[in-house]
Amino acid sequence: MPKFVLLATDLALYFQMLVLVLYVRHALRTPLLRQSWRYVQRDGAAMSAALVLVVFLLIALLDSVHFRPRLPPAPDAAPAAEIAYSTRTLSVLDVLLTGPREAREKTYSTPLATHQFSKESIQREGVTVRDFPRLQYGGRHLEQPQEQWGGDVLRRSVNGLGSGLLVVVLGAALLVLSQSQRSGQAFMLAALDLLQGRSALPWRAIGVTLTVLLLLAAWVAALWPYYHVMGTDQTGNDVLFVCLKSVRTAVVIGSLATIATIPLALLFGILAGYFKGWVDDGIQYAYTVLSSIPSVLLISAFVLMIQVFIDKNPQWFETGLERADIRLFLLATILGLTGWAQLARLLRAETLKLGELDYVQAARAFGVSHAGIMRRHLLPNVTHIIVIVAVLDFSGLVLYEAVLSYVGVGVDPNTQSFGTMINSARNEMSRDPVIWWTLSTAFAFMVALVLSMTLFASAVREAFDPRARAYRVRPAGASTLPS
């Protein structure tokens, strides 16, 4: 048995999954919530985005189950000796991608390359020459890379894409079949309906997204065991692998920081809106003070602080990963603690409005306690604001992490993150010939994550805030705006 390691951020992610599951259960049981979420379901862009988000979340979760593998017993050890565990902590994702993780080159290589990016002195037939050395892993199965490379890449790509396409066609056929069974239509008619976007769920949009994702995955799966699909970085790590590892950091920052704002914002927002008077004054004063400090500076102050703390107490952390992880955890918490002012302001305004309504007045007249009114009558009616702000903030935080890493107060330098990748890309882009693949891969991943979250968030906002629906884009032919 390996020894399982529970990192702080793992725990936080599991906890969030639990909250998510509880919320889904609650939403399924509440008719009003179910209706709002059904609105999101009907939005093609939102559902496609949700699909991409689920993929990212799965990657992050796979990367959040950590353990230290057991070491084989030393040859001369006594049979009852204590079991030794490796000092390296691995995650399930690491194990699944053992191939690319261990295929470390010396330094840069272009995507799908067979040779290193820079020249080196190598021994060839007894003579020292300066040439591009062969990569240790990329394209190592080729005997004559110059002649075979093009054909090999093409053959494997076609194989991969072909099998991906096969899965897509099969999946589509199954979907059409199930639809035609349900509605009693002929197969071709059901297919036509789906193609023209006439279905309760936006199957056409979901299908297109799924097709793209599957084809990409199939292509990568066909080539990755033999090549570095997106090249290698300065220390020879596979760029695609680093990007997949960075997904977890982004998800942790985005979700944990959002979750961390909620308790404070909820407490202070409702208290200020409900009690008014000096309580309101005090809380308003507190959040004005917080929001008037430039956020980058406030966060750097906190981060410099925790860095001093971590450096002073090295005995608390068994491995380097735990140390890096606690920094990530605290960074996300700090982002939450410094960012509650915005949400608290919104909640205060909503509570002020709700407090004047008849049912709250009635509850007060019946002698319901302050705590009771706040918990039973105010809290459930402001949750929609929390949902909207939570999904809206996520993308902003992912982008912010990159900025913080650049300033030097982001994640630990050993933690893989999009911020650290972009940071290193700054020097790579000014080299000649230019090293473009690190930046473009990080770019693609980040845009995919942030864009899907933005699209999902805008659908959620429309579903929960009917006022936002008025600004929806309706392409030609749709009904005009109410004016």
């Binding site: 750097s300 602080m305 999009f418 700054r426 230019v434 980040m446 864009l451």
Partner: protein, 325 residues
Amino acid sequence: MLNYIIRRVLYGLLILIGVNLLTFILFFAVNTPDDMARINIGGKRVSADAIAKWKTQRGYDKPLLFNEQARGVEKLSKTLFVERSLPLFALQFGASDTGRDIGYELRQRALPSLALALPTFLLGVFVVVVVSLIMVFFRNTYVEFWSVAFAVFLLSVSGLFYIIAGQFLFSTVLKLVPASGFAGGLDMVVFLLLPVAIGIVSRMGGEALFYRTMFLEEIGKDYVRTARSKGLSESVVLFRHVLGNALLPILTSTVAVLPLLFMGALIMESFFGIPGLGSFTIDAINGQDFAVVRAMVFLGSALYILGLVLTDISYTLADPRVRLA
């Protein structure tokens, strides 16, 4: 009116005191002068003597909030808090931990910062207003659909990408402008062209969408219907009536940002090597120069509060319906 302004300014001062107390606690109580000395001296030469000497030199050798050895009022005044925080209110920033005069640096660096931030801001507002008006003009067409989609895409790209890609494209490949640097006088235009353009583009996505909703909200109002029913063309309605009325809230909302322009653009300045306040701040964070960071926090919050007060005043000036409470 005067009464109201005085009240707002006093409240602003109260907040500034709060900011000061908070940053003081953050920087001194948790990260004590001993720690700072250890970081600054660095390496293996850290001894109790060296720390004590460093603290005396920099004036950090007093208790934080309460001096038991002094007597009378001096119990409170001979402390780090009073000596380090109160002079900030008189804009006396003192010396940085590396010994440079912060006030002098601020005066030197304010101009380059402003030279970058002001054009970015003014041109940015102009471009965004024009773009969002065009989006509203073509509403319910494919032009709107694709422009909104494009804006959402722009919104999802990290600002750092714009900078890196922009520098690569315009400086490295096309060689149109220098990659980084700064010069005084008219020469600065060459250096500022690219950062200003990138600054505008990186903000455009989000703000165009925001202004679009503002204009759409305005377009649903009665006076717009009246103007249309008079037989005015859509472009006249949009560019004369709607723009005129929507511009007021836009301009008053920008007042809050104006003072903060002095703080400069953190990332932009350090990428383009502009010797402004933004790059000053980043250098201070990287060098763990707490005196500079504290001075910048104070300056930043003071300017933010100034923005708040100015916003309140401009609202009451611009909209007679706003009562002075």
